[in-house]
Symmetry: C2
Subunit: 267 residues, 2 copies
């Protein structure tokens, strides 16, 4: 049985894995988190492409049938190169989120939040304008959200003041939707939804990519239709991660029992 | 003329370079910032030691006469191994800060703030207890400080609420001093000093290491006594850094004109 590879800069991509697992319970997944070099959001496109290739090659050796780039930053700067290089389909969260946005009705003003690398690449902006035509895109890098989420302070006064700082300029824009363009942000989806008085739709790229993967598997007739039963997904990290189980549970809502550390040979 | 190497996980070590440059204006410095893999604070000791060795080897090839480990996390987990491996003296900010603390009078309660890696290693704590004997050490990892400083929000409400969150438990401890155990923290030295109503001495490991280096150069008779005049210090990074000049000016108070990007061969 061939697996679906998931590649992320770290553990944030577990929010994407969660959506894939939910929508495609019969599939086996192999997750790779580049915890030795996380985060990608502040690194240069060249360096991110190099890391993305190394990890994709690692997953290719596992004979995956499809790869999900769960990291928004890597999807923003490396997706076309990865698609051109590898034989299996490569699906990025950014591209999937734009597909979802373009399928929604009455979207003329859209906000995008993410890392500096994601926002600076303008990939969301360019794809949204290409797909939705008459749309205004308002982008904002929000680099302090991730460490606050990782500290578990999502309902704190620190998060409230930081959210106000980053998002208040969106308030008078009358947004129709906002894309949560970083794997960590679905963790604060409710807080963001409430910040906009429940009047702005939130788009979770993890959910979008799960739907896109389902479509591609079906179209290529490579889905696994039998019950996967006891098949165990595999988790690889490039560095040991303190409190991995706790973090995984925070991102997933369920525990992961075993994780493999990959040292050096490829990375 | 032989140089002094400075190694850091990124650009924060420029605050250490600033102190070295001020105290030792006749020396030439070679700075290496591992911007391709920054930050070290959340990575495992094994991985940090590997990175530290690669970069020290790069600096060794530049025939340096002494190396400063400007990164508190690397000093905490890799200093002894580096000292044992290389022929030139290796001086860490952590060890220098402890020397400074031990030379101060009336220090019986001391606070230490830093990254998760620095605090978890207990290196500050163990060295302080070893050197100062009757001392109580109170440690706290403060991982949100760095992104707030990097966002330039040092006088914001976000910084105020975050400082309150991290440091309020120190308020009833009647600290005599607090060690700013991360290269970014000297940028908020005044804010921390004010938080404690100017009643707690702040120890800047960058200043401490500059004094230690001066001592070692003199003791080994390897200082450069002639005016260095127009000698240009060299700056190497493992990844391009957006807004490098702006960040450098923020950390240093003066500009750096040229930076070299080191790709791949060693790193």
């Amino acid at each position: 049985m061939q697996s679906i590879g998931i590649f992320d800069s770290g553990l944030g991509g577990l929010t994407v894995y969660k959506e894939l697992k939910r929508l495609l319970p019969n599939e086996k997944f192999i997750y790779f988190g580049d915890t030795a070099r996380v985060p990608y959001g502040s690194k240069s496109p060249d360096t991110i492409r190099k890391y993305a290739f190394e990890i994709s090659y690692f997953l290719a050796q596992k004979k995956i049938k499809l790869m999900v780039v769960a990291c928004n930053t890597a999807s923003s700067v490396a997706l076309n190169e990865l698609k051109n290089a590898f034989r299996f389909p490569v699906i990025g969260v950014v591209q999937a989120a734009v597909e979802t946005a373009s399928s929604m009705e009455h979207i003329s003003k859209i906000g995008v939040i993410g890392t500096k690398g994601t926002i600076k690449s303008k990939t969301y902006q360019n794809l949204l304008i290409e797909k939705l035509m008459n749309v205004s895109v308002f982008s904002k890098p929000c680099p302090i959200f991730v460490p606050i989420i990782e500290e578990g302070l999502i309902d704190s006064i620190i998060m409230k003041t930081t959210m106000d700082y980053y998002l208040k300029s969106f308030l008078n824009k009358k947004l129709d939707a906002i894309i949560l363009g970083c794997t960590h942000y679905p963790i604060i989806e409710e807080q963001i939804f409430n910040f906009f008085n429940k009047k702005v739709k939130t788009i979770n790229p993890g959910k979008a990519v799960a739907e896109e993967v389902k479509r591609i598997l079906s179209k290529n007739a490579i889905e696994n239709t039998e019950n996967a039963g006891n098949i165990q997904d595999e988790f690889f990290l490039s560095d040991k991660q303190e409190n991995f189980k706790k973090i995984a549970k925070n991102f997933l809502g369920f525990s992961i029992s075993r994780v493999n550390i990959v040292k050096n040979s490829i990375i």
